[in-house]
Symmetry: C3
Amino acid sequence: TSNQTPNSFSKFLPAVCFIWQIAMIILFGIFVRYNEESDTHWIEHKKTKRNLSDIENDFYYRYPSFQDVHVMIFVGFGFLMTFLKRYSFGAVGFNFLIAAFGIQWALLMQGWFHSFGTGKILIAVENLINADFCVGSCLIAYGAVLGKVSPVQLLVMTLCGVTLFAIDEFIILNAKDAGGSMSIHTFGACYGLAISWVLYRPDLNQSKRLLGSVYHSDVFAMIGTLFLWLFWPSFNSAICSHGDGQHRAAINTYLALASTVLTSVAISSLSKDKGKLDMVHIQNSTLAGGVAVGTAAEFMLMPYGALIVGFCCGIISTLGYVYVTPFLEKNLKIQDTCGINNLHCMPGIIGGIVGAISAAGATEYVYGSEGLAAMFPMVPRLQGGHQAAGLCVAIVFGIGGGIAVGTVLKLPIWGDPADDNCFDDEVYWELPEDEESHSVILEYNNHMRNKHQDV
Amino acid sequence: TSNQTPNSFSKFLPAVCFIWQIAMIILFGIFVRYNEESDTHWIEHKKTKRNLSDIENDFYYRYPSFQDVHVMIFVGFGFLMTFLKRYSFGAVGFNFLIAAFGIQWALLMQGWFHSFGTGKILIAVENLINADFCVGSCLIAYGAVLGKVSPVQLLVMTLCGVTLFAIDEFIILNAKDAGGSMSIHTFGACYGLAISWVLYRPDLNQSKRLLGSVYHSDVFAMIGTLFLWLFWPSFNSAICSHGDGQHRAAINTYLALASTVLTSVAISSLSKDKGKLDMVHIQNSTLAGGVAVGTAAEFMLMPYGALIVGFCCGIISTLGYVYVTPFLEKNLKIQDTCGINNLHCMPGIIGGIVGAISAAGATEYVYGSEGLAAMFPMVPRLQGGHQAAGLCVAIVFGIGGGIAVGTVLKLPIWGDPADDNCFDDEVYWELPEDEESHSVILEYNNHMRNKHQDV
Amino acid sequence: TSNQTPNSFSKFLPAVCFIWQIAMIILFGIFVRYNEESDTHWIEHKKTKRNLSDIENDFYYRYPSFQDVHVMIFVGFGFLMTFLKRYSFGAVGFNFLIAAFGIQWALLMQGWFHSFGTGKILIAVENLINADFCVGSCLIAYGAVLGKVSPVQLLVMTLCGVTLFAIDEFIILNAKDAGGSMSIHTFGACYGLAISWVLYRPDLNQSKRLLGSVYHSDVFAMIGTLFLWLFWPSFNSAICSHGDGQHRAAINTYLALASTVLTSVAISSLSKDKGKLDMVHIQNSTLAGGVAVGTAAEFMLMPYGALIVGFCCGIISTLGYVYVTPFLEKNLKIQDTCGINNLHCMPGIIGGIVGAISAAGATEYVYGSEGLAAMFPMVPRLQGGHQAAGLCVAIVFGIGGGIAVGTVLKLPIWGDPADDNCFDDEVYWELPEDEESHSVILEYNNHMRNKHQDV
């Protein structure tokens, strides 16, 4: 197995950061320009195009959603993973690093696929949102391997993940997937779980002492949870078509998430002694409704439909933490630090299925004839088929890509932590002195207590 | 008194969550649909209505404010209450639970009152804002009983609170109350204080050891304070009429809050030995200006008027923490954990009075004749009377409803904590092991110190 | 030197808060009114002006950016400075106080300069953004003296800083500076460093025990970092002209910041033993790209241009923390608690230079003839000269003003902490009891350990 001393790490990370960032600059220099709405030629453009005014620039109708999504990516995902007692720096810091790299690479990859032939990638605020989305899938994957890999491994995971995402997205182009249940959540979770499966550590219990939270780290994680929960309506509606589509997606997501909270609490309480609640469930499962309503958020799911989706996913996700995560670890040798299977994989697949069914069942009665044509590129039954196909492609890409990338990451060159050193910021971070003295005191106290007991 | 062992809690909470959520799904199925701006029929609607374009959908002119309000409800209120050393999980977690339930119930209750006769509740982003507002009043009430009630009691409080809010709001329909000084803050605070009065615990000092903060819990609470403070301009302007009304409400709130900070700091410093500052005041009283300017935010209060309102409320609110909270506990037997009397009740009443006076004194000279007609449904003097009546109705509903609900909550069936167990997450949450060992160390140290002193 | 006992503080702070706030009310009463878009006369105004509709009110095209900037000022700056182990209250609390005062004074100062002759200051959302910007410069200056001054000194710093800012801004009016690389960052940092130079404390190492972080204070600081990083695109675009300008500024900032993260991580890792990362760098240097792209954000910098700016500033800023900060302290006697030289001064100057060069090099080929005229008030070469002049003025104002204000603050009347009492919340805040008992335990443990070693 890959228990390198982290010394090989010392020059590797800076080298990767520098070289990749220089590559980004060169590629951006060759390929990336402003589009007509973010270029100074807009002043001429708006005259030619039915006399647009400045306030009709798409910036004003996408930017607030973009900023909400941006908060989710950096604060939401970052803080959600700070729950471990000694890996908060790594959680929020490496999340920051890989997202900052990933959004640049995503702008290129997605740009290339959407601008075949023209030669230039023309960017605007919608591209920024899509780049954030794309990176989101890699941050999900990070959740599965949190504390067990080096930052260089994470950067490689992100490079490959973004690439796979962009290809996957291009293939399933005809499947509607506004909130990315399939392309972001299912793909990202499958990708992360497959990598974690390849990188399986049989002796991980040597780090068991660090695999848990302390009181305040759980409160930090709630910052992540709440900002994800809050801004999820923006996430699912950010790239919907303007007007009723974006409006409806926000409403559906708001409702699905509200419903999820109640069933997550219920199952959490049922699963524990004396009906107590488990912070892990509150931090994670309460978000499952947002994942599952992603694909169909834009559809005429109806308010009660959104509530039902949330209801089911709160149950399934919490049960996942109670039963599926231990099962995966024992029987399938998948170690899933954050339980992304429960928060992203299962709810994402449900979301894909809900999307396929509700697309296949769409009627002119519900949508209106013009509304139906505007919503779906194909007739409902065909659309449903495409949705189902899209889900399968996402799963295949996730698992296949994850196994391939995991195999590369298994090479003993990446400076990942030893089995007894996982979930420990000490490996990659200068820690404040106080922490060390604090642990000295803990040890000292243990020593004294034992002595005391001897007396 | 109601010192149940929390065992009865173990099946009660899941049952309530499940049953109520299923009820929500059924009621939403019967009553709730999308309105014309969030339905696919928008495509036809916009043609018939003076050729609207997609970007004229109301979504774009309410949604940014909605998201700010949403942050306040979940992060703002939730983290503001994390200041207690051992009740941060309960603060942020139960806030999450009851808000997620409350917004669903509020959509129904408010919808029924606004759609008499049509049979269906048609929702859009404005309804989401109103639901958040409605729940806000229940979260205020939670502040009074923080740490002393069970989550089931909180859910009952929310169910009844939302119901009362919707009725109250319907009755005072002709009173303008954009930021809810009366309907949200005064009502919510009276409701919470009345419940706390009924649930008075004479032996609460048995939990005194937990009724305080630690250094980092105070910093967590500042997250709540700042997000409330920051987004309050959005809160007070979120449902104002478009154009100058919304614009002015944001400006007035911005100014009132700035002013409040300075007088809160001043009084806090005067109230303490050596002029030191008290975090409780900084966390809470700095927000009083936002409460008090709620009703009149939309009016031509003038920038200096907003500053004066903030000035006074910073003083009154901080003095409230110094003098009124202890007085209420000793003399009126009202135990108010978060001091909602000082942050919501007194400033809310002031806000109602400011609203009544400034409505009664509105003139064509200041507003312009068209502006005056657009702002108030009635002539100024009559409007002022309606405002004053609205304030009284909010107080009566709050106190009356609170006493009734409190009486129900006093029944010994709800699994609330014992007197020596209040303010303790241990009762309802699985706590991380480290915390326990931490307290072991504390005890051990105390023991050793005593021994050392004996020597 | 000025080692006053903080007793003089006890009545001074309340007096300043009260008197200044009353002065604000009087001055606002005389000078400040709503402008035509936030006044009820808007209803008439919009008819006369080509039949505007309510949703064309500028509120809707500035307010989302305003709220993002507001988060940066209060949460971003406030939490970024919470990294010290025992000064988190002071960081977030005094930041709150001085910002709340400063925005009021900024509305007046900036208003007077922009409304010469009309007699009244007419405010709208754009003024609120400018006031936040202005205060930003003073919060930057706070970073240099964090933990070493009293709140009264901070208020004086803010009063004078805002005044200088407004004059500076008026003088360099013809220089474009959308994100304030020059007027906010360079000026603010020079101002703070000059003050810190005058207030140099040779015996500051007496407080050395408190000049560092603990694990959770570093996580708190990341809240500040991330919200600053996230919303920086809004900061740099908030007051750009509508349409492509605002759009482009957001894109450029997004890219510059992404690039900065990678080079900051790289240099941080290179600078430390075993390639570990330093939280100070991650918290601060990752933001340098946003500072440096401020002036040119609106220009046709091109996406790769933004990446290059970010690339260089991540390197320079991190090297600054490693080499320049110690150098400044030893050789120039400038004690810079937060390292604002590295985050604001050097990147700000770079930003000014980038702005001057890219303005001077602007061509019709790139901008289009109409675009070029719309962007710059002067021909490119002249514009470049004005930009360079603007940078020089900002530096001169910062250093000159800082020396003058620092000299006043050196008077032994302000109640600043003693040399062995710096970076300690104890001086100005009532601290929770637990903290004290915690330090008792630490001392006790040290005592016991020594005893144990003797045995």
